[in-house]
């Protein structure tokens, strides 16, 4: 939380996460190089450095699929939240693998002439037909976007660019993915005779599109709800019994989702959007008297939407009234951190 920044927010879980990540990648690289040498093929004729270029590139591309899958999977099941907790470290590692792939490519294919290797890479093939399309340019575009994401992944950037701008910037990962699919697909068509890589890229694309579509369908159900607002500006959003203890019901009012929490015989409502990365507060629970974001553990008091001192985050609050078992929610948000007395369950 934003009292002061830490260089790297490592704790025991994150260190284990990172060690497992690095060990898995090292194992993958070893198996890739070993199996390519063992089974032979065009790469062996080109030499060990060419195999390493493909090992780094394929590791980065597979890791990108894992990273892109985590978001929608957490929408489908909270069991995947532990993967989300440290996703930024995974993204930085993926970028570094991509850099190694690019460095190897520059040294291996573009460092033997009079031109600067980067100039050679950018001007070596300007035939923009289907084959031989300069697929390297697509890779450079994707890598630049991933680089921009990696260098702005620290919370310093989240705070200074603000969460909505930071999120918009990081949503460019989908543009990077599109460019890299083109890079791998067109590159494979030009350099490999075997269709395996092309088929594998297709399967990965179908998985990414499918899991996002699946999660979007689930999310759309929440946003489609409509509520009638009475003359006092309150909407009947459901009954108390719908909400489990220390959990929330999420409804959409005033253009955004609201998390309506039940706890200690009371009902309170705050904006669903966490100030850190705009995580879904309504999918969290009350821990130690505070609403706790399921993404990174940021906490807010249900009564005023403010983080407990010394932290300074605040989210808008909403007035709540009860009539029997029904919950009536104000459609007008209060300024972030405004105290609102909870509605007491009789």
């Amino acid at each position: 939380m934003s009292v002061s920044y830490k260089s790297i927010q490592w704790n025991r879980q994150k260190i284990i996460y990172d060690l497992l990540l690095v060990a898995t990648i090292a194992l993958y690289l070893y198996l890739f190089v070993w199996s390519t040498q063992w089974f032979g093929g065009a790469d062996v004729e080109r030499g060990l450095r060419a195999i390493w270029i493909r090992a780094y590139g394929s590791a980065a591309f597979i890791l990108l699929h894992v990273i892109l899958s985590i978001g929608p999977l957490t929408r489908l099941s909270p069991k995947f939240y532990p993967l989300l907790f440290n996703r930024r470290h995974m993204g930085v590692v993926m970028f570094l693998l991509g850099v190694q792939h690019a460095r190897g490519t520059l040294a291996w294919y573009h460092d033997f002439g009079n031109l600067d290797p980067i100039v050679s890479l950018l001007t070596g093939n300007l035939n923009f037909g289907f084959i031989p399309f300069p697929f390297e340019l697509l890779g450079i575009g994707g890598l630049l976007i991933l680089g921009l994401m990696a260098i702005t992944s620290h919370d310093f950037w989240l705070h200074n660019l603000t969460a909505p701008v930071w999120k918009a910037l990081h949503m460019c990962v989908y543009l990077a993915y599109s460019l890299l699919v083109g890079h791998v697909f067109l590159g494979a068509l030009q350099t490999n005779k075997h269709p395996f890589l092309t088929i594998a890229v297709g399967i990965g694309l179908v998985w990414i599109v499918g899991v996002h579509f699946w999660a979007a369908r689930k999310e759309a159900g929440c946003d489609r709800q409509t509520f009638l607002i009475n003359t006092e500006g309150f909407a009947d959003i459901g009954s108390i019994s719908e909400i489990p203890e220390n959990r929330a019901k999420v409804v959409t009012l005033a253009g955004e989702r609201i998390a309506v929490f039940k706890y200690d015989g009371k009902i309170s409502a705050i904006s669903n959007v966490c100030q850190h990365q705009n995580g879904p507060l309504g999918e969290g629970k009350i821990l130690d008297g505070c609403i706790t974001c399921p993404w990174h553990g940021y906490q807010y008091r249900p009564e005023d939407g403010a983080s407990p001192p010394p932290f300074t985050e605040k989210v808008p609050t909403f007035a709540v009234r009860l009539q029997g078992d029904r919950i009536f929610l104000s459609a007008t948000p209060n300024l972030p951190g405004t105290p609102v007395e909870p509605a007491v369950i009789a």
């Binding site: 909505p164 005033a254 972030p336």
Partner: protein, 98 residues
């Protein structure tokens, strides 16, 4: 080889290079002396933290140069609820009922 394309790419790379050099000239003194003024959450003198944010500063340095000159800090984010709350008359805290 396309001579025009080569000349264009070489010129673009020089422009990018100059921009990054400008960023470096601004960022080194900024992370030491000026960063506390635009972001009060930066506390202490961690060198690793400054190294980690340096690549981003080379890209976004004009943003911080403007904030430093104007004496501004990071703006508060704008979401639908925050915008609506600012536009709406703020009622007194309301009591719950049953």
């Amino acid at each position: 080889m396309n001579e025009f394309a080569i000349a264009l790419v070489e010129w673009l790379l020089k422009v990018i290079h100059a921009y990054l050099i400008g960023g470096l000239i601004f960022s080194v003194p900024f992370v030491i002396f000026g960063i506390h003024r635009v972001d009060p959450n930066v506390q202490g003198w961690s060198i690793l933290f400054r190294i980690i944010i340096m690549p981003g500063l080379l890209i976004f340095w004009p943003l911080f140069a403007v904030r430093l000159v104007r004496g501004k800090t990071a703006p508060t984010e704008r979401t639908a609820h925050r915008v609506a709350a600012q536009a709406a008359p703020q009622p007194a805290p309301q009591g719950g009922g049953s």
